[in-house]
Symmetry: C2
Subunit: 610 residues, 2 copies
């Protein structure tokens, strides 16, 4: 079962890389690019920066205190992708492991002297996730031995006491290692890390203990807060612990934290974490488009969390947020050539970025960069894309459900289907049954698809078509199910309405007042203006139906607008309100948000003044 | 000439603490409180935190790498205030000075090894400013000897080469030391520091070289950028160098940088520096109310710069911005009891702060704090309030101008006047001549005062009043002048319109779209809601004339509004715009922004949705 998450119970059981194979298409192409380009790109940079050399004992040690973890994320990506370079890299890592299982190129010699910022358990967490991936895709080898030895060391060292790490991730990694090995102490260790947090377990820091979710015990918190990646990794581990220990109350707690976070602390793109200063969520309704931090890694963590909640509950809302985040954050995080990355993902950029060569020292948005001082995002993208097929569909009690509508072949027990679609550009989805079989097939109808229809077209009717064509029925957002039995050639046709639609913000989101955005299907669109021509700061859009243009298989849009300068003299605050009616007519071109920044330095805005 | 800034040329000559004495009133009361409470408060905390102990050689050294500078800012405040504790504190400092003039409790032993972050020249700058204040108020003593010795060391060490400091301030300090001593090498050293910057002179850092204004030579920059305090301190030093070297082009450059910054990067309160992450300006029109950083020290730096530009050019716009910043930033930065301080000054607070005791480790707004890990703001407030009389009036070629309308006695050559006013609460200002004399008297009519009137009431007419009363003439914003000769008892009466007024943002300020604020006189008002009752996130104001209430000498306002929740379900982005007309009628109480946060934890907003 080649899966990054494999719970022993839950409403849905995931289908892994052995059951789901993506075909060429939006995600299949990206997975291929990841495997062929991005993984090697990451390894090259980690070698160049000396982060791999650290494991060989090269001195001075280079990189940040958590750079070991980047190699582990890459090893996880290599595991899922079956990358031939894995063994050599894993052997390099193994050489740095000490006799008792301790492994860290920064803190060897001063072990466990800084739980707040040391990241030692965080590094183990990623090492263990790599080991789990390798066990599931391949079986035992040097990498899995290193990971298990490290996990055993962690259990010996931390089972008693009240210590934990400033950066969660070990929690979910240990549960997964329990799931793959059956060794219960890993689950118990994870459970204790979860329950220790917020007692408090860590020291106070200038950002406050909420930064690393140590301000409150997990059961008392009402919303995700503090550093977004930390908060979402922790919540993922908590769901894993709750599921394996049968703690329904704990699961419900995370569900309710998620619910409030999605309703009040999430950007239209699915991005989470508004603040630059501490990479944190910020307050309810603090959702500035320009300074939205929306770290790529936080969106990956959000996908990991929503996937776990989906499997545990079967609630479609988790798949809806995952889709939004996949198309508008994960797909945005990496350039079309697979070699450069966004760290922050703002929804507005006022000034075109200055092109950089080499490492980007700042985690700002504007132009994708080949590498960062802190390069979690490239490696996280690599491991997520490499395991993405496991997020596409799941097994139910009596069949399968397909969460994400993308070209694929899916096989599970008696069922084998091929999904064909031009989604997200077109709304037509065909699911063709490949072999006679039994079982219920479910398709997710996205939350935004209010006029979707579904047709069940038996192969028999294809031979002798019905006089009125197949029976087409309307389907509501949620899961639309069709029952078997099936004959090879049977088809389910889902039609989703792909009209562009205007979307308006809740009035409590101060930073978006009197603006609107355009979405089409699962895609958020944005105005992109190369070299700020036209100047996007002076555009006011009209709420009229956008016009569609297709170019090279990509749907772009055009909206009517007026353009005109502000009222600014020497002081930008005036005794009369600006007149929004005095601009000249123009049109503004919108591109899918995930494609912005691929044409060179540009200004951009998702939310258009209206 | 007891003045923090004393240029050898310029359109205006400052009047110092020897010429201007503030009487009880808005600023006179605050100066007295500063002298009686705040200065001692700062000294107590610096002792408690060990920052003074560092000069005694106590180990381990405590505080940040720039903590020496806090003691110097405090010594400057003590100099202006004539504080009796000065000599003992200065002697403590003197003991730590090395034979060649070097003085730094952090870097002694590893001198000048970190120009980017070491702050050694920054510390000297504040030491020299303290020495200049002492020389002007008192004459030579232990403090001035230490300062001069340090300045001589700086000149010997740095006159050649291309080094400078990551944090400007030495530039303006050295020019002032030249002005008070006549020693030209101090001016030359300042000039070289100014011209070296941006060649570049410092290393690259993750924030980018713009952080410390080393991205461009000063003559090529078009706007203030990077760390706000650094940018504004540097610009102040550049004006000083330009004035003393007669470099009109350099002066014009700073004027034009100031102009664009005020038009595009300044908050309604006069606050500068939008970003938390690097305490920087951010881009043009990036003026978020909630995340406005607006460091108190940046506002003080802005006052220092505008004062210099005012003296050099006589242009009233610099006095207008200074007034705005004084009443809405400096007065906000310190609590009514003089013992707690804001570091950041946002224009919106959504969640009431949690009360803190002791040091505040975060520079967030919400509640004033008695002390910070980085406590520049309390000491900067202390030195600014102690020297504030020097900002009130200036000498012209043929008389005086009064920039700031506050109770005071002003004496200059043949002129002696007493200003009486309840400003900023009332708009009536009386300037009474105290002795027979000659000369032109100018009064600043603030930029917002579009219907002001002025009357000249000779003492003779007071004995036998004119049948129709004194001649009242309308005066426009700018300086209104009345010519002598004067007889003791003559009076000038200025009447300023104090109607509350609605103010609207330039349409390019995205974060303020569809909001308005209320101002009255020089004061910006804000809605303050203790414990968020009523919930300020749900209020929509009506653009109707606010109602005034006076309570304890403070004018509060009330505006009509509707109140109603947002449209939020589980996802805060909806296919229809929120209906703003569906709320219940209510009123919202507005208080002067500078008084907010004095009634306990509260939510607050300056810009009201309309």
């Amino acid at each position: 079962m080649a899966n990054p998450v494999l719970p022993s119970s839950g409403v849905l059981s995931p289908l892994g890389l052995d059951a789901v194979r993506l075909s060429p298409g939006f995600w299949g192409d990206r997975i291929a690019l990841n495997s062929e380009v991005t993984i090697a790109h990451c390894q090259e940079w980690e070698e160049r920066e000396g982060w791999i050399g650290n494991f060989r004992g090269e001195r001075p040690r280079r990189g940040r205190e958590f750079s070991d973890s980047e190699i582990y994320k890459l090893l996880e990506a290599m595991s899922w992708a079956g990358h031939p370079g894995l063994t050599a890299l894993a052997e390099t890592v193994a050489k740095a492991q000490e006799g008792d299982g301790y492994l860290n190129t920064r803190w060897s010699g001063s072990r466990y002297t800084d739980f707040e910022w040391g990241h030692e358990l965080y590094c183990y967490g990623h090492l263990i996730q790599a080991g789990v991936a390798r066990l599931r895709m391949h079986g035992e080898d040097v990498l899995t031995q290193v990971a298990v030895k490290a996990a055993d060391h962690v259990c010996r060292r931390f089972m008693e006491g009240n210590e934990t790490c400033g950066h969660p991730v070990a929690e979910m990694a240990l549960v997964e290692l329990y799931r793959v090995t059956g060794t219960e102490r890993y689950l118990e260790m994870a459970r204790r890390f979860v329950e220790r947090r917020g007692l408090p377990a860590l020291g106070d820091i200038p950002f406050g203990r909420a930064y690393y979710q140590d301000d409150l015990p997990i059961r008392q918190a009402q919303v995700f807060r503090g550093h977004a990646v930390r908060a979402l990794y922790l919540a993922s581990g908590v769901v894993d612990v709750a599921v394996e220990t049968g703690d329904q109350e704990l699961l419900k707690t995370v569900e309710s934290q998620w619910e409030r976070t999605v309703a009040r602390r999430t950007h239209l793109t699915g991005g989470m974490g508004s603040r630059h200063a501490d990479e944190s969520f910020g307050e309810d309704y603090e959702l500035p488009p320009d300074r939205a931090y929306n770290e790529t890694c936080a969106s990956i963590a959000s996908i990991m969390l929503a996937h776990r909640l989906l499997l545990a509950t079967g609630d479609v809302r988790y798949a809806d947020l995952t889709e939004r985040t996949l198309y508008n954050m994960l797909a945005t995080g990496v350039a079309l050539d697979g070699r450069s990355f966004f760290y922050a993902n703002p929804l507005q950029v006022r000034v075109p970025a200055v092109p950089l060569e080499g490492v980007n020292h700042a985690a700002e948005g504007g132009l994708r960069s080949p590498w960062f001082d802190v390069s979690c995002c490239p490696n996280n993208i690599a491991r997520t894309l490499a395991s993405l097929p496991a997020y596409v569909a799941a097994a139910t009690r009596d069949g399968i459900v397909i969460h994400h509508l993308t070209p694929a072949e899916i096989r599970h027990e008696g069922l084998a289907v091929r999904v064909e679609t031009g989604y997200p550009w077109t709304g037509s989805v065909s699911v063709r049954v490949l072999a006679d079989g039994e079982g219920r097939i479910g398709l997710r109808v996205p939350a935004w698809a209010s006029d979707a229809t579904l047709a069940h077209v038996p192969v028999s009717s294809q031979d002798s078509p019905l006089p009125d064509g197949p029976v087409i029925r309307p389907v509501s957002p949620g899961y639309a199910h069709v029952d078997g039995p099936w004959r090879a050639g049977d088809e389910i046709r889902l039609e989703l309405p792909m009209r562009p639609r205007w979307t308006f913000p809740d009035r409590r989101i101060d930073a978006l007042r009197s603006t609107a955005a355009v979405e089409r299907g699962p895609l958020v669109y944005c105005a992109e203006s190369v070299a700020d021509e036209p100047p996007l700061g002076e555009v006011t859009a009209r709420i009229e139906p956008p016009v569609e243009h297709e170019a090279d298989g990509v749907v772009e849009l055009e909206v009517a607008a007026s353009i005109g300068a502000g009222v600014n003299g020497g002081w930008p605050y005036e005794p009369a309100a600006a007149d929004h009616e005095d601009g000249a007519d123009t049109t503004v071109r919108l591109v899918p948000y995930h494609r912005w920044g691929n044409r060179g330095p540009a200004t951009m805005r998702v939310w258009l003044p209206i």
